[in-house]
């Protein structure tokens, strides 16, 4: 019987420990008490009590979390969750009504794919057109790790050749020709690509196709059709380059920064352009709007020869119902997105490797958000 009691005690202990953990808390209490509540009273009308769930692109995850965290500091009762499971998953969950809005690397497709038209499906699910609202600009860096090289310029053609495996060493004359004054070692080039399907891959190959069509035979797609070795997620490719002398990859700027990788300047034909928020803003400002009205789907000109514009960018969208079935929810989404597009929020994401929306786009975004109901 003693044995029985021991077993019973063990099960009790298990249940007890679970009950105990319920004593833990989210950090909400503190953020409110430390935050200056009176100063925020002007924003209070835009605050809400409750939870929003979003899912999608991993490219905007860091920005999203930063902004959600800032929003929470303002409105302690509001929680915005983001599950960075990928753009495709986010759109699918959005259409399925499982999340309140989606984050995506590309606007809803208006052409048929796998027998479905994303934009149509989303419209049916919402009961109103779904809008693509550009929110976060994530530049894609061509990140490298070559011992002794801290400055590198690439043209689209040379970049395409590298990622196609046609240029195999760092001191190849083609690279040397556009990098006078840089001592290039004979190290072998090791290309890393995203092995999971990714909007980053799609946008990078779109760029190569647009700016160097002769050197990039494949069609732009979410799956990589160049050479190299594949790593899962941005973290994987960044880690791969970091631990390999001679490594090169395409990755979101923030990951390149976080891992202290070298970032190549891109010469689209109008001189080498460094990657910084100014050069990115310049490129986004010249983008053409393909959506109508408040649907702000943008088409970036990858081949842009605009001086000082960094051409490889990923504009990520928040995809929302223009008129939702649940009015309260729509109001909450509106409040959050309004904060997201605000100068304050855009500035915080600049600090972590994203580029703020240029002024022209920001105005349009604000108008669109106001029209959500």
């Amino acid at each position: 019987m003693k044995i029985q009691r021991l077993g019973a005690m063990a099960s009790l202990a298990l249940v007890g420990s679970i009950a105990l953990t319920a004593c833990g808390s989210d950090n909400t209490g503190e953020t409110t008490s430390s935050g200056d509540t009176t100063a925020n009273s002007s924003a209070a009308s835009d605050c809400f009590e409750g939870t929003l769930n979003a899912e999608g692109s991993s490219a905007q995850k860091n920005a999203f979390e930063e902004v959600a965290s800032g929003f929470k500091a303002k409105c302690s009762g509001a929680t915005v969750n983001y599950n960075p499971s990928g753009s495709g998953a986010g759109i699918k969950q959005f259409i399925g009504g499982q999340v309140d809005f989606a984050g995506s690397d590309s606007a809803l497709k208006t052409v048929e794919k796998d027998g479905k038209i994303e934009a149509k499906e989303a419209e049916t699910a919402c009961g109103s057109p779904a809008w693509n609202i550009p929110m976060v600009t994530g530049p894609i860096a061509v990140a490298y790790n070559v011992k002794g090289v801290d400055k590198l310029t690439l043209t689209p053609a040379v970049a395409a050749d590298i990622f196609q495996g046609k240029i195999t060493t760092w001191n190849d004359p083609k690279i040397a020709a556009i990098n006078s004054g840089v001592t290039l070692p004979a190290t072998a080039i090791k290309v890393f690509f995203r092995s999971d399907e990714s909007g980053t891959t799609e946008n990078f190959t779109k760029y190569l196709k647009a700016a160097a069509e002769a050197n990039w035979p494949g069609e732009p797609a979410k799956t990589w059709d160049g050479k190299g070795e594949g790593k899962a997620k941005s973290a994987g490719v960044a880690e791969g380059v970091k631990s390999t002398d001679g490594g090169i990859t395409y990755v979101e700027w923030s990951y390149a920064k976080d891992n202290n990788l070298g970032v190549a300047a891109i010469d689209n034909g109008a001189g080498a352009v460094e990657l910084n928020s100014e050069s990115v803003g310049k490129a986004v400002a010249t983008a053409e709007q393909t959506g109508t009205g408040n649907d702000l789907a943008l088409k970036l000109d990858y081949a842009t020869k605009e001086p000082g514009a960094y051409p490889i960018n990923l504009v990520t969208y928040e995809i929302v119902c223009s008129k939702g079935k649940d009015a309260d929810k729509q109001k909450n989404i509106k409040a959050f997105l309004k904060y997201f597009a605000s100068e304050e929020a855009q500035k915080t994401i600049e600090e972590i490797g994203y580029a703020p929306l240029p002024a022209e786009v920001q105005t349009k975004v604000a108008t669109a958000i106001d029209a959500i109901s």
């Binding site: 063990a10 298990l14 833990g24 989210d26 769930n53 899912e55 969750n81 891992n259």
Partner: protein, 306 residues
């Protein structure tokens, strides 16, 4: 569990001294010594990864666990590049899911074991036993895909924490069945016979005599089974995405767990996130070790009956 023990060296003086008979050539003695060395080396080699992993985890994650916040706060409002916050949301999620998984799989597992030991005859029993073996071998990712195929694709339901529990249940049932079965078989038949002789019906005999007698052994099996499912990550990646806040509802939204917290933070490449990865890994290992050791201790007591 075995009744046969290893050879007790001291009980075999003949073996020790048969060198004196001069029967062994140098070559044979060399082989013998070489084998001894190989076995010792093998053991040491097997310990290297254990020591290395535990050492690395302790070294890189230990300081996280010393902070009281780790045990009292969630990661709500804390981004990858900021330090701070705790793991209580993930610890809680892991424990809740483990508890619910146990609540579903223990009755099924124990009853299946009762069937196999007390009722099962013929073809059906053979089939059940065979299927338990197959269930043992199902990879966790296949279990997760099955639940996904059923729950999400076929029924059109959302990915919910309860779906994770169902996938984990599939992995836990066979361990519960096997350990319970083993324990029930150890219950002496005399006990059952005595009970029947007193006119106690079979079901009451099982519930009042057989199961209580093997109770601690069954608990051991459950704890070890729990330890196994708690570390599973594949079903969580497919069915139970991570979130940084405390969530206790199994039927709505997301529920964070320690494995998904590890996976999420691992994909960040930032020092605060890397620290959290190690911290969460250490926490998970500690919980699993505690369950393992508790299971073994209880199991040791149950041997008294043998």
């Amino acid at each position: 569990m075995s009744t046969l023990s290893t050879v007790d060296e001291s009980a075999l003086p003949a073996a020790r001294t048969n060198d004196d008979f001069g029967g062994k050539s140098g070559g044979r003695a060399f082989c013998d010594q070489a084998a001894r060395v190989v076995m010792w080396v093998a053991f040491v080699v097997a310990l290297i990864p254990l020591v290395w992993i535990l050492g690395a985890t302790l070294l890189k994650g230990g300081h996280m666990l010393l902070d009281i916040d780790w045990w009292t706060k969630s990661q709500s409002g804390i981004t990858a590049r900021r330090e701070g916050g705790g793991a209580v949301h993930a610890i809680q999620g892991t424990l809740i899911q483990a508890l619910v998984t146990a609540l579903i799989s223990v009755p099924i597992g124990v009853l299946t074991a009762v069937y196999l030991v007390e009722y099962g005859r013929g073809r059906l029993a053979k089939a059940v036993s065979f299927m338990v073996d197959i269930l043992t071998g199902i990879p966790s990712i296949v279990a997760a895909l099955f639940i996904y195929a059923m729950w999400v694709t076929t029924f059109g339901l959302q990915r919910l924490p309860i779906a994770v529990c169902l996938a984990l249940t599939m992995l836990m049932i066979p361990t519960v069945v096997r350990s319970t079965e083993e324990m029930l078989k150890l219950v002496p038949n005399e006990l059952r016979e005595a009970s029947y002789a007193l006119g106690v019906p079979k079901w009451k005999t099982i519930l009042r005599i057989v199961i209580p007698t093997s109770f601690s052994g069954i608990i051991t099996g459950i704890l070890l089974g729990l330890a196994r499912v708690m570390g599973e990550t594949a079903p969580l990646i497919i069915l139970g995405p991570y979130t940084a806040v405390i969530a206790t509802n199994l039927f709505d939204g997301l529920m964070p767990t320690l494995p998904t917290m590890i996976y999420q933070n691992y994909t960040e490449n930032l020092q605060p996130a890397i620290d959290r990865t190690w911290g969460a890994a250490l926490t998970l290992i500690l919980i699993i070790f505690v369950l393992n050791i508790a299971g073994r201790l209880i199991g040791r007591f149950s041997k008294v009956k043998n």
